[in-house]
Symmetry: C2
Subunit: 312 residues, 2 copies
């Protein structure tokens, strides 16, 4: 409805993947290499980038594919510009055809333990790391007349939020707002915008965040199931190929997508109505059970606050 119905083929296209050295970013890069794309991965850690590049090389389909890695911190306009320039060079300065913005980390914690510096660095990690790349990518696509693609990666925590994500959900919600404004503006240029909302991804990032996650948040998530980075990558690529604006990877993602759609372009009017009705009945029940779990932690939390010296 909002995109061409012709399936997008990554073969021979230049795909720029941020957060490309691990998790869903790396899995997407592997998938794109397998489909014959030129792939540039960007991440900070040079050692992990080299390991990721070796992995990508294993899946090379032809000697002509340009597969490269670039070490840049992209949570600034200057960093994103430098990464984009470096990645465009082997392509004669032409900017990539598709940008997969997978960069982002989460640091679950209680709101009352935050300060301005933590809030700003978390917002840079959850929002800035994708928004600044989107900015320089958009400018370059418009300047060069490239009718490309911007693919953001938000989270189901961009559809709802719970205790522990007060510095993460704002950035993931913000990505949704940005993608929706750009989906509208980019009708002026034929640039496609997509945004994915995966749930738990079994990745190095997930293991790192679980180490610092508040007990109450761990308890709420106790029964959650997750997906492998490979499965999430497949869903994202399939969603992009089908021209979907919001891309979700599992049943609960579909329920949240349909229940929060508003005026966002939908995937299907019939199945989305089904998911929306499921959400209308099930989500308030789920929310009540989450609220009960939070309330059951009041005593434990009071002790935590005393131990931390926050209350006397």
């Amino acid at each position: 409805m909002f995109f061409s119905s012709k399936k997008w083929d990554p073969r021979g296209r230049h795909c720029f993947v941020t957060g490309g050295s691990s998790g869903a970013g790396l899995a997407l890069a592997v998938l794109l290499v397998k489909r014959g794309a030129h792939v540039s991965i960007v991440a900070r850690n040079e050692e992990r980038l080299q390991a990721a590049l070796a992995e990508l090389e294993k899946h090379r389909q032809s000697g002509e594919q340009i597969i490269k890695s670039y070490s840049f911190a992209i949570n600034s306009e200057a960093g994103s510009t430098a990464a984009l320039q470096a990645a465009s060079e082997p392509h004669g300065g032409r900017c990539p055809d598709a940008f997969f913005l997978c960069a982002g980390t989460s640091r679950p914690s209680f709101w009352i333990e935050q300060n301005e510096a933590l809030m700003r660095s978390d917002l840079d990690a959850s929002y800035g790391a994708q928004a600044f790349t989107a900015l320089v990518a958009s400018k370059e696509m418009v300047k060069q007349g490239v009718k490309g693609k911007l693919v953001f990666v938000s989270s189901v925590l961009g559809y709802f939020s719970i205790v522990g994500y007060s510095t993460y959900s704002p950035g993931k919600f913000a990505l949704r707002g940005l993608a929706e404004s750009l989906q509208s503006e980019f009708l002026l240029y034929d640039i496609d915008v997509h945004i994915a909302f995966p749930g738990t991804i079994y990745s190095p990032g997930y293991e790192a965040e679980n180490k610092v996650k508040p007990k109450v948040t761990l308890k709420i998530e106790e029964t959650d199931s997750g997906s492998t980075p490979e499965y999430v990558a497949e869903c994202i690529l399939k969603g992009v190929q089908k021209g979907r604006f919001h891309i979700t990877v599992d049943f609960i993602g579909n329920v949240f997508r349909a229940s929060t759609a508003g005026s966002s372009p939908r995937n299907s009017y019939i199945t989305d109505l089904f998911y929306a009705l499921v959400g209308y009945v099930a989500l308030p029940i789920w929310r009540n059970s989450v609220d009960s779990t939070v309330r059951a932690h009041r005593q434990e939390h009071q002790e935590y606050l005393k131990q931390k010296g926050i209350i006397g």
Copy 2:
């Protein structure tokens, strides 16, 4: 369901209102003074604050009401802390009972004309100006054991977005994510969280933004109707008193609220189902007409880009 059913009474309570020198913030402050609250208004411009304070004095109900104004820039933790400390002083250091976070401005513009500095300052204006006050307010309420209220003011542009709001909607969406995470966390403290999503408000801020608004955005909004600051203020106070989490002020706001509710606490299961069904049918039709308006501006936009030297 999620809040006490006893109606909240501002009489004798200390209400802290940011963005309190004009628009909906000033109208809320007037309303709270009329209801017998102690009111502290915070804004940057000392001259406008003095005029606002004179206005508030006209509505004083008793000699005991403490009505004050404070000039601070609150888009930082330090600024918000200083404002809160100053406002708490006439109350013996006790922190306010309710925080009405009305600070915020919008600067409609095209995405491809942004840079990092503009993006950061717009995010500070749309998100930071409320988030940092919420941070220092939360810490103080928890420390002092005040079971108070946090009232954020987002926008219908926190439910959806269109061309022109790529640096505004992210902040207004981010406020929704923050409020939802805090609504969950604050069950640990009995602090209530509310968030309002007004549409167009006929205020000095609206007049200022229309002067810089892209033509295509003005065209889309041509048939919009708006509300007076006084009406919006009444809706917000009523919503807070009724214990509503999401507060909307008109029919279209209700439609967007119900159509994007997800697992957010609802206002009513019956009327929200009605609004959600209206949204399910009407919003995609509306979105299509907006998309047509954007596409109709392609020629005009190409000329704009050439004139600005963005394309050759």
